[in-house]
Symmetry: C2
Subunit: 203 residues, 2 copies
């Protein structure tokens, strides 16, 4: 694993075996999804043994996957909130978040995305506990975005609609950008998100 | 497989073994993605033999997967174009497309989505021929949307930006809707897409 760029949600040198297992899960789920990722591959990347996996995650791969989803979701949310809150106003935040995502995609050769979207699609109809884990992540992202839009002066309904739109745009743009190996969808999504927020605030 | 609703891109009773294999691939990839879908599961659903698979798809699962992506992409595009073109104008098209997608999600218990997004995320960093197949689908969708926005009177740049935004919104809303088992993200995305198109046309 030679990529060295800063990855949202991943500390660079996880100390404990548990942290290494989760970090390996995040990295592998990002690149290839959950189903394609075998336990042995996770153990090899984490430099861990079978016994450690079942010590930390008695439920095995599913329990580790739930923790991967939760940790990746929290990490990515923290990253986006930092970018959002450092920008000069809510409209500028949209550009900053989407342009930042585009930059990370390009720097990582289109591999670094929050793995939640991929896993969400894989498990939505087949694994209810993991679906719930992905739903928790999205609810947390939506609440955080909605709170920021409300704080900027939008009414509850508008703040909610915009938060749903921005999260959907971000997740969808990741899909199209990775498929097309282009940042154009993410940059266009950011411009349209900024336009929507600008219009909403002017009303 | 007891779901009986009309599924975009799937004929109800595929006649040939080849068509049954592709239809089974679409159905299984929709629900669980590509990696979780084994050849044996596809053969069982298609009521086909190993020898038939390799007769029609000498490249095995990957060659079948490329055809699944292509067929699902064409089928879903045709479905969306029909909904789009039957609506009363470009703004109404947005509502129709997203409300239609929300209705299909709800009717299918959040299982029926175009499988292209799931597979795109699974293969983007690991399988270049299949990534290219997903990119071809998105390029075709983007071109079709852009042509419609241009025909409605928008300039090339605006038509392109809106097409990227609408495709990203649709793909991302599928992810969040399935994870949260709610049509709210799709309906919000549709309202915001309609708002963007309305504002663009008024300029």
């Amino acid at each position: 694993m030679s990529r060295k760029i800063d990855r949202p949600g991943l500390t660079t040198a996880p100390a404990s075996t548990r942290d290494r297992l989760v970090a390996a899960g995040i990295e592998l789920f990002q690149r290839q999804g959950m189903a394609a990722t075998g336990i042995k591959q996770i153990l090899a990347m984490a430099d861990a043994r079978f016994s450690s996996l079942y010590h930390h995650f008695p439920g095995g791969k599913d329990e580790l996957a739930a923790e991967v989803i939760r940790t990746a979701g929290v990490g990515y949310q923290r990253h986006v909130e930092q970018v959002w809150d450092q920008a000069a106003g809510t409209v500028a935040s949209m550009s900053a978040v989407f342009e930042g995502a585009a930059a990370v995609l390009e720097l990582s050769d289109y591999a670094d995305v929050c793995p939640v979207g991929t896993v969400a699609m894989e498990v939505a109809s087949t694994n209810e506990p993991l679906r719930l884990a992905t739903a928790d992540v999205y609810r947390s992202w939506l609440d955080a975005a909605q709170a920021r839009f409300s704080a900027a002066g939008l009414d509850t309904r508008e703040a909610r609609q915009l938060s749903l739109t921005v999260v959907a745009l971000l997740e969808g743009a990741f899909v199209v950008c990775r498929a097309c190996r282009s940042t154009e969808p993410m940059l266009a999504a950011g411009q349209m998100a900024a336009r929507l927020v600008n219009e909403a605030l002017r009303k």
